[in-house]
């Protein structure tokens, strides 16, 4: 169901959305107008790399870094990005 996102898409946080480390918990959070979203570790690792890199590039990096199956990580990325895109926190340029 996530195959509609092309592999060469370059996800970026939407205007007005910031990725931050919450010093109280040490975890990543997305900050936006009137809202805070606490991220799990996977989402944080993905979003740290949403700076102009392609989805396939991010998948390859994470697969190597964490020594996991590329198809699995690709699926994780697409699920996370689709969710955030639906909340308008992320754009796929």
């Amino acid at each position: 169901m996530h195959t509609q996102i092309p592999s060469d898409a370059r996800p970026r946080l939407s205007n007005g959305v910031r990725l931050q480390i919450d010093c109280t918990t040490g975890k990543g959070v997305l900050l936006f107008p009137e809202g805070i979203l606490e991220l799990n570790e996977t989402a944080q690792e993905i979003l740290t790399r949403c700076d102009g890199r392609t989805i396939s590039g991010i998948a390859a990096e994470l697969a190597q870094e964490y020594d996991v199956d590329l198809a699995t990580i690709d699926q994780d990325i697409r699920e996370t990005l689709t969710d955030l895109q639906q909340r308008k926190l992320l754009e796929l340029a």
Binding site: N15, G16, R18, E34, I36
Partner: protein, 373 residues
Amino acid sequence: MNTPRPYALLAELTYNCPLHCPYCSNPTQVRAGIDLATEDWQRVIHEAAALGVLQIGFSGGEPLIRQDLARLIATAREVNLYTNLITSGVGLSANRVRELRDAGLDSVQLSFQADDVEPADKIAGARAHAMKLEAARYIREEGISLSLNFVIHRENIDHLTEIIELALKLKATRVELANTQYYGWAFLNRAQLLPTRQQVERARQTAAAAQARLAEKIDIYYVLPDYYESRPKPCLNGWAQRYLTVNPIGDVLPCPTALSAIPEMRFENIRQHSLDWIWRESESFNQFRGTKWMPEPCRSCPQREIDFGGCRCQAALITGDAANTDPVCEFSAHREIIDNFIRAADGGGPPVTPRVNPTSAHATRARAPFSLC
């Protein structure tokens, strides 16, 4: 008991404002005192970040009146706070927007009174609408995220479609259709501001349809008119759980309206205590924290962890005791008072009392009352 950590600080930099909206939730009477200096606010910001705060809203009154606003935004960004400016837009020139942007401003919530200049300027008591349109353009040109806020009342509630159109035209990412919350000036003017039940029902349908139709384009946030609900709002997600407010003279409040709504409560000041102590130890923050303070019917209610007994300020304003169940609740012994407010809101009655600034001393009648209809 573990003290929760706060997530957001509302910094009310001044109670002065160029607008005179009769639905303002600012207090009608303020405690005399000297406004905090730049260094005081900078200390508040540092202490808030250390407590766990992640977001700061600069509000008022009109925060643009403070010439040190850009410095305070920069201070907030130094400690990684997300910065939001809550403004009327009056005084927001292209240069000022650029100055705030350079200081690190993340987003702006711009208030509007109506979709059209004439009713907007009438309710604001100032020729402000045209300036707001300009301000919206400058904000978007600088690439700052823009939310619009419309306080909804009897005079504009039938125009939600046009209001949403305006928000789309101004390229806002979010629009709040905020039914009036009856505190401060709004409570004083409730008979003139309250919409009818038919208006509320139509508005609910209009907002829901627009949310579905425009989901891709804009976030439409509809604040419920709680007098017309049968259960109270989960005010602040519970007293002293996530939010705190510092007012212009440094009083620290669990809720911005608490100072005037609960006159018998003693609030601490940032000039005498640290923010950390006030959040964790002070009586005002602990009095209604959690569920132990609750009387019946809240104490045994299955909803008590969902709505937290509603709003302490509303309980105080309407029932005379902040520890009572929010009178909006259908199980409150005082629900009849709300029903009487609704019955009395027939569009007649005395004219509204426009908001006046605290510095125009003894000025509760300084601006001529006017009729909404």
